[in-house]
Amino acid sequence: MANINSVDISRLKNGEVNLGTSIMAVQFDGGVVIGADSRTTTGAYIANRVTDKLTHIHDRIYCCRSGSAADTQAVADVVHQHAQVYTSVYGAPPTVSTAAALFEKMCYDNKDQLSAGIIVAGWDKEAGGSVYNIPLGGGMFQQPWAIGGSGSTYVYGYCDATYREGWNEQETVEFVKNTLALAMSRDGSSGGCIRMCVITKDKVERHFIPGNELPRFWEGKEIIGSIGGNSSQVGVLA
């Protein structure tokens, strides 16, 4: 008999809204660039095509959210509050690693109930720019660059082949933009526009690339139409 007493957390619940997603964050000398697509889906329906998945945690700390929209919003809200309290109590903003540790605690302690893949990134005085990847399960992994969400699976090869240390801000922005565009073009759960944030000591600068201005790559053969109809083409795919 089917077991009705356990929930399969690897699948979203019926009707649950999903940040299918492609998200990433890359560290460079002086800060980080974070980016995300803008698609939120319920099954194959795009519930929001202009989502903002780059969530403010503190002045120079943001997170990228993937997985359940509800779960990630709830967790981010709690960590946002913790960060505000921290600043009140200690008189200084938390470091990125502290914010990441707060996320890790929530995601690990509630691992059975949550479907949340989060990338925490930002700038602080101690470490400069840093990126922390917190996938399902609540483990925390600091990396020079991190990708996440369903769309990320399609771009591991591109990122591994393209990433170089020592890029400046503009080169890093290009890397994020191209990676996300590639992921969005293959992953059905990702799409819409690219939102990016450059976070440095001096600024948090938002970038927006509308869906009709995304970088384009190979999109398949050109398809020419036909006139008159041709019933004798068998075994031809196009």
Binding site: R11, T55, E222, G229, V234, L237
Partner: protein, 273 residues
């Protein structure tokens, strides 16, 4: 409509409400313990197909994507297939079944053409092809081995001198109307198609039909909406036109999409930064 492929060896359906029929694996071939079903699951799939009758013919639209679950796997697939000079199929669902259908139907029409050389029997009308598909799909569903597609048949009937548009799917369900759509199109595009159609033809369909330009415009608008809201769609599609002159399929087009309004949006609640 076409879900993620189910895990290869699940015993139950995705909500654990009923057991899935299992093919006999390695067991004795002589013992048949019950009906042997091959119900399948769709793997490489195409999304919505739209159909619309207009002044002088029928238009059918479909995008160029074949998905593998959520992966946009093949982005240059033509899902519109002409049959003879006066019929066209727009096919959604499993693409391997679509390829099989193409092969079988092309062979059938070729045989008919050959036979017609020796006698003067009329060629298959769109309605004939539709009824063949209807019987085929229902028979296969009744053997629990469906052809996993939803098909729009569009055509021009030379004898009756009128347009033809009808729907058949994997269950053998059939219907016909001046505007039709499969999958997401049935929810998002059909209301738009009907509104445009009824604006001129009236609620009872007795008034004039849309012009070619008007029909193209509403189909383009529908394809844009589907690209906005169907996560298994692609902004690259073709429109086929069938009239008394014959069948013509356009080159691939893309709808203009609007995103600028989103630049200033922030967060999901109280966030302003």
């Amino acid at each position: 409509m076409w879900k993620q492929p189910a895990p290869a060896n699940s015993s139950f359906n995705e909500f654990n409400t009923f057991p899935l029929p299992q093919t006999q694996r390695g067991q004795s071939s002589h013992a048949h313990h019950g009906p042997v079903g091959h119900t399948q699951q769709p793997l490489v799939t195409g999304t919505s197909v739209l159909g619309l009758k207009y002044e002088g013919g029928v238009m059918i639209a479909a995008d160029n994507l074949a998905s593998y679950g959520s992966l946009a796997r093949f982005r240059d697939i033509q899902r519109l297939h002409p049959l003879g000079k006066h019929t066209l199929l727009g096919v959604a669902g499993d693409m391997s079944d679509f390829q099989w259908l193409k092969k079988e139907l092309d062979a059938l029409l070729r045989e008919e053409d050959a036979l017609a050389l020796t006698d003067s029997h009329p060629s298959l009308s769109p309605k004939n092809i539709y009824e063949l598909l209807s019987n085929l799909f229902y028979a296969r569903r009744s053997k629990m081995n469906p052809v996993w597609n939803a098909v729009l048949v569009g055509g021009w009937d030379k004898v009756k001198q009128e347009s033809f548009l009808a729907y058949v799917d994997l269950l053998g369900t059939t219907y016909t109307a001046p505007t039709l759509a499969t999958g997401f199109g049935a929810h998002l595009a059909q209301p738009l198609l009907r509104e445009a159609y009824e604006a001129k033809a009236g609620i009872d369909g007795n008034g004039p039909l849309l012009t070619k330009e008007e029909a193209e415009k509403v189909l383009e608008d529908c394809m844009k909406v589907l690209f906005y809201r169907d996560a298994r769609s692609l902004n690259k599609y073709q429109i086929a036109t069938i009239t008394s002159e014959g069948v013509s399929i356009s080159d691939s087009k893309s709808a203009d999409t609007y995103w600028k309004f989103a630049e200033g949006l922030r967060g999901y609640g109280a966030q302003t930064q």
